[in-house]
Amino acid sequence: MTVDGIIMLVVFLAVLVAFFLILRSLVKLISVGKPEKRFDNPWERFKSVIVYVGMQARVLTQLAGLGHFIIFWGFIFITLGTFEHIMGMIIPGFSYDTLLGRSIAGAIYLLQDVFGVLVIGAVIVALFRRYVLKPERLKIDDPKAGREATLILGLIFVLIVLMYGIKGTEILIERGGSDGFYTPVSRFASGILAGWSMDLVVANRVFAWIHHLIIFFFLIYIPYSKHIHILGAIPNVFLRNLGQPGSLSRMDFEDENAEKFGISVIEDYTWKQLLDLCACTECGRCQVACPAYLTEKPLSPFRMIHNLRAHLMDERGRLLGGGGDGEKAIIPGTVTEDEIWSCTTCGACMQECPPFIEHVQKIVDLRRYLVLTESRFPSEMHAIFRNMEVNYNPWAIGYASRAEWADGMDVPLASDKKSFDVLYWVGCAGSFDARGQKVTRAMVDLMIKAGVDFAVLGVEEKCCGETARRMGNEYLAQTLIESNIEILEKYKFNRLVTACPHGLNSFRAEYPQFGFEVETLHHSQFLLELVKEGGLECGNGALGKGVYHDSCYLGRYNDIFDEPRELLRKAAGVDLVEFGRRGMSSFCCGAGGGRMWMEETLGRRINEDRVDESLDLGIERIITACPFCMTMFEDGLKSREREDVKVVDLAEAVKEACGD
């Protein structure tokens, strides 16, 4: 072994030990979080890693993602090469050629060589985007973030150049078995280097040492920069949420002596939530998908995760047992209340996120703390909570009036029928809101016409609890959920149908947490079924042009995109026009997350943004599948003074087409 080799061995070992220690301390740090079960279904999880890490599936949904794909794979091959080189310095003769045979080794060398150029290209494009194009998604008000990114890009650039320097000089001194056959670019580099006057052996050593030291620097630097995502992202994908995207965690209220509920300090989060923070690549895609951010509200999911991670790192000392000044509250130092309350829980951020970070649960956890422990929330919500407690609906309307929408109709009641096929869940809007009642009546008319064996709960129905849950009032939500389950269990029915996606999501994703599971359908799915089975005969309804808005809780959270469209085309004869932002990328109406009940004073109005988008399409009709969306659109059209544009629910469109 040469002197070089001995020094390299020592340094390499030292770096490996340091890296191992860093890794261990990161694991310890994350373990400070509360427990969470995420190790179920390992095969499914493994497949996720193949698709989302190996194939970079989410990253590639945007063109700029190609750059990351290149850098990611490039780095894997290049690191293989680096490893070979370092080992080669320590153990002379170490090479993939001898270990793996020419063909495999050759493949590795070729990939390394070609990817090097691609990576340089990707880095240049990245720097160009960051400093010339300045895309919205990279905007963050922490200058450190930008400097970090530039440093990393710069170092990658330098590393690749040095790599070609090493390979090029090796070809010239015919060392290491690199005859340039599998490394065309390095051969090209050697041509350039041939013209240099410096000692090739020395140059080779210098290039190699600088290169390796930079790599070692990277290894130690990772946890202190956003490059921690290299360590965090892959496990995060493996441990992603395989359950319903629309479910929030269930809190336990057994401990009567508990003084605190929800999250107030960083270590209250679960270990998985802390791991999330280490998975963030700072790509900013969540930011430009967020309706709050896009309407100039203080919230940016990007910034929130970034700040939480910075805060976690700041608290390392204390959390790993180093004493310190004591707990530091997350609010308002790291995340402000305005940010927390601006969220509509639309889930667009989570949909976009390549390493599957779960932003919404973190925000709701903070809301839970504010509401349950400190009773600190926007004042409008006090009345809303009170109304749900006393009258089981967010408006202050007596609960005994819940079934008045059915006056004059012959609607079967669950308490009469006891056993039936379909339970139609009317929901609060459908029961109390004059506009929502029209939808309920339309739907009930259609079901009666089709001879469906259904019933409604009438005054026994209580608010499903979804709003309370998203607003952070988990206690109230659970009270409502448990109350409803008690009532529902009195009856025998096969399916639950509802016109409200929030109710739908509740029953699909959240009621099972409390032991109640039933096949739940959105009314669009049910109506389509009726039409297809011939139960509903809709003549050639020709309702003209209309645009269909994908509700967040119907589409993004519950994957229901096609049935409403099919229903509209088939049964209602609508000439469907589409929003630019549609399907999974649909733009939220602004009402979710309890925001329907709160004043919107910051930034622009989300619903007005979406209404403007619809007006640009030049249609006369907007078709919604959700009572919240309907209200938001109607309000927005009123502010834009375009009440000539009509908003209809799917059921109303179908009813019109199936008119007597």
Binding site: W395, A396, R435, M598, D635, K638
Partner: protein
Amino acid sequence: MTKDVLVFGEIRNGKLKKVIKELISAGRRLTSGEGAIDAVLIGEGAKDAASDIDGYGLRKITVVEDEALKDYSTEGYADCLSDLIRSADPAYVLMGATAMGRDLGSRVVAKIDGVMFSDCVDVNAEDGRCVARRPVYSGKLFIEITPQGEIPSIITIRPNNVPPAESVDGSTEIVTHASGIDRGSIRAIVSEILPLAGGRPDVSEADVIVSGGRALKDASNFKILEELTDLLGGAVGASRAAVDAGYADHALQVGQTGKIVNPKLYIACGISGAIQHLAGMRTSKVIVAINKDSNAPIFEKAHYGIVGDLFEVVPILTEEIKKLM
């Protein structure tokens, strides 16, 4: 206990409140020929105020202008009035259901061991007994209630419900009474009267609200509503749409995310009545809706409605009400 009626006249700022004429009217129904109606006026200006009710067929007007009682105090007035009640021994004591009446009545009823019917909207005699009608459950129902046994009844009557008495010939004896009450014994003293800031009550506490929607089209147009509401002593409200458009301040916003109000009279001008707004004012006793659109949802919840342009209707409404005053 006699069959007489004692009427208490409220004096504020030296002026006798006109509800006394309604009390006299009620008193006439209760005595219907058998008993006499006396009046008691306490406070600074009582002697002069007595002339307002001279000529209404009262038997006697007792005025108390002691220094200790020149301004209202619960204990002072209650002590004095109770003394007078004990000596006169009427069957009924009538007061206006005003802030003073409600406060005073509940203290006096304990002193004289009687019964009190608060906030009545009508009083009649049936078979020689008084039957008072009063709202309960925030006015969702009414009850008719009568005293039992030979006990004096204090009845407070809501202003503007019983028609005021007409004057009759003849004049009434005015007697001065010295209460003998020592101001030092009064434990709750009014130090000053603060008029309402800005002259208008807060929308969440107002008894009358005139509210405007987006149809107002401009902040300056709210003046039309202000004129009307000031006549009625009420507050101005606004729908969220109007506040968003900058026509009114957020403090006036009525609705789900604004203020919840419960006035006796709510006049909604150019407000469509979407549920977000209704949630804030549904419990108003009387809702009047003025809207160009006959299909506006507000007409489903209003008690009275006019389909018309608020810019036409409201000024005429203001004029008509001015004529009443």
